[in-house]
């Protein structure tokens, strides 16, 4: 899979003097199962405390859309989204929660955190 971080645009945090939380909830994430080629669907919840940089919302939408035809496992895609966003934003704190729709009668959530302050 190619580097997707170049899809992400940023803007300077307008209030870096205080900690505050930004949550973006994207219920229309879809990728492919690398085993079966079948589509997977998830809600991706990004929660972070920005440091000097915020992620620009429209570019983040395009970033998530870029997984549409990629084959990638639940655990891998969730960890990758965290990794890409931490690299670009260098936030004080970040959490990705991915809630995947039912497959074989079982739904799955993957929750990954990054904390610069620890």
């Amino acid at each position: 899979m190619t580097d997707k971080t170049k899809l992400l645009e940023t803007f300077p945090n307008p209030n870096p003097e205080r900690d505050y939380t930004i949550i973006h909830t994207a219920p229309e994430f879809t990728s492919l199962c690398p085993k079966t080629g079948q589509p997977d669907f998830a809600t991706i919840i990004l929660e972070y405390i920005p440091d000097k940089i915020c992620v620009e919302l429209k570019s983040y939408k395009f970033y998530l859309q870029s997984f549409r035809n990629d084959g990638i496992f639940f655990e891998a895609v969730t960890n990758r989204i965290l990794g890409d966003l931490v690299k670009i934003c260098k936030p004080r704190y970040m959490k990705i929660t991915a809630r995947f729709n039912t497959r074989g009668g079982i739904s799955s959530d993957i929750i990954v955190e990054y904390d610069k302050r620890k």
Copy 2:
């Protein structure tokens, strides 16, 4: 954008001898996107522990309405509302939660806190 704090009226806290919490939930906030000019819609939740001064509810409604035709970003407007109210009320604690409606399939919450006691 002009100073909006003069729109805010206050009254003396009737029970300054104890800490207690006031929550005002305003589901009819609307402003404009500074990039596209398109309207944004949000629910603004103000939670605070008053010190000597409480914000008067009707003037707070007019204050929120004054953003109706202003172009302002999600992060900026949430931080600004906190700043204006802290300046006027000097509360012991205050939190603004702004829940913005879906744009491009993604909804956004911005959560900003002020704590005099820390």
Copy 3:
């Protein structure tokens, strides 16, 4: 406004040997706005840990009903209910949560606590 505490009846706590919690939720509270004379509506949630005395439920209903034609602000009525009940019950802990219906598109919660143990 006259003293309403005489409306409140009590009974001895049947289990004073342990801390336990009693919650009474009253969704039919109504009083008047002292400015406009318009009726206000709220749900009053009383939560407490009794010490030697419990508040009798029927008398508590009559106590709440006695505000029906009184003009009183949100913050004042919530603090007053706490004050009256603490005076009568002398509880180990007490919290009043008043959830007022929407006025001018904004709903309001007032949350007041008393803690003898602190």
Copy 4:
């Protein structure tokens, strides 16, 4: 109020050979009360059976947004939206349901229908 129908764009119905129903639900409508100048908020539900012409969705969004700073009553705006759309689309059937948020503790729905076939 100026003629707003020029804001509405259309496209040819791709399946005029059969009756079918299109519903567009717009929860972000806002206008002003002509008496008080206060903002009103509504969900506008457009349901219609197209004949030769369909209303284009993006232009319909701009049409609804154009009421943002107009002073207009509930009954009038609902009837006007129906009138404008019937004039432009000449549908076989059309219904506008406008659900206005609570004002003074009372919420209001206005439901207007047009039926060419009757």
Copy 5:
């Protein structure tokens, strides 16, 4: 009980050329039980097709508030509201649905209709 119809104001139906429906939902109705003096609480849903006259919303709110300290039974108040509004508005159709809160573990709805066209 005095004549309350003088509290109701009206305005000319802006679109008498077509049948359309107006629904006003008022969840804050309260009156007294004529037997016990205890307060009753209800949601009053007014649905009507206006002829030449519409009921003005604010005056309708004051009309409903005027029952606050009246002792009146469920069936009687619902029929009376219908009677008063029909007298004032002379609508093509009108329905009052009154949903009363639980009393003695039982909730009650009263539904009354008027149809000029039958």
Copy 6:
């Protein structure tokens, strides 16, 4: 089982000149299973169009409570309540819906109607 209709009190219909509907919803009905002696629980919904007589609410509550320690099947108790109320009220129309809680993983509704007008 003894005659329970003597528990039911009535009052004259205040508006016999028009058809209107009264619904009483009682979620606290309980009786015993005649086979096992185990308690059954149901919500009883009484809907009727009164003729000359209405059923008094408090006496109806006592009537329903009188089944508390009776052993009676779902179908029988629902038909019996309809029979008793028709006998006492002689309504224009009446329907009893009894929604019984889950037994052995299966919940049951019994719906019985009487229509004098047919």
Copy 7:
């Protein structure tokens, strides 16, 4: 698959003189997919107007449980349950609604009716 109707017990309708409706909702139905051997799960809703005979609830539970290890398609099992119950009960009317859980991201309902009166 063997004849399962012998599992079903009945009792005489206590009120054959009138039409009334019985609904049994069973959310714990499970059988096997005949193709894959994988378990299927459904809620089975039986609605009927009895004639001379009612189905006994406990035996109906055992009848539904008897499909636990049978391989049978959605359409076939729904039609079969209707057929077996009509054969045993000879009702005036009967409907089976089977709501099957999601398989491959798609949930399925099968609705079958029998009407002696038509």
Copy 8:
């Protein structure tokens, strides 16, 4: 009131080597008000960490049913259930939450805890 603990049967905890939590939620509890004789209804939630002994579910159901015709106050019955179960099970931790239905427009929860480890 007689000793009800003899109704409760137990079985040895199959996994005493670790702390784990058992929650039994019983929405069909009913007893009588000792003042008025009127039935009360509640949901009883039992949560505990067993030590050497678990309470057997069916006997617990019969234990709860044994209050059906007893006159007992909210606070007393909740404390008594805790007391009886602690005596029989000697758990590491136990909590009883009793949620009583609305009486006079007010619903009540009583929450009692026992903690051997403190």
Copy 9:
């Protein structure tokens, strides 16, 4: 766009002697907007009365997935799915309801029917 009907497999209706209804609800439909290339998301509800032929569920899933990277408008895709399924199944009745997610703050439903019996 190529012919997709060859993706659809069928099986003989096991009960052609009676009318019955099959509903398949697929909440994971996605295609592309032909104007912007942006992904659209919808729930597709297929409801039909089979004649001699039923659509096989797994092949129907693959058929819906085949639109994943096609650019096609809301109205066109809904009409096309109906057309393809009618051609393959020749049902007695069929309805497609497509509920599209919010775009620009407006959600859209398209409802298309086919009725052989009319």
Copy 10:
């Protein structure tokens, strides 16, 4: 009961360098009551922080299905699932929550945890 751990397949944790959480929610668990032979139904929620090994989702589904015709008590099956998964995955943390459907009017949750780090 035979050893079921051989049904469980695993894969290497793709991100062992950080703690993150995986939740699999399986609402279609069914086993048999060892006393009555009657089927039990539960939702099994598996939450864990993987160390070097993750459990493969499809094999976990087959593992849960293998209890379908086993007689086993609520407490025992929940503890056993935890034991089997800890043995195979050696996780940093694991919790099993089993929510069993209502039996005799009472629903039951069993919650078991394992924490390597304590």
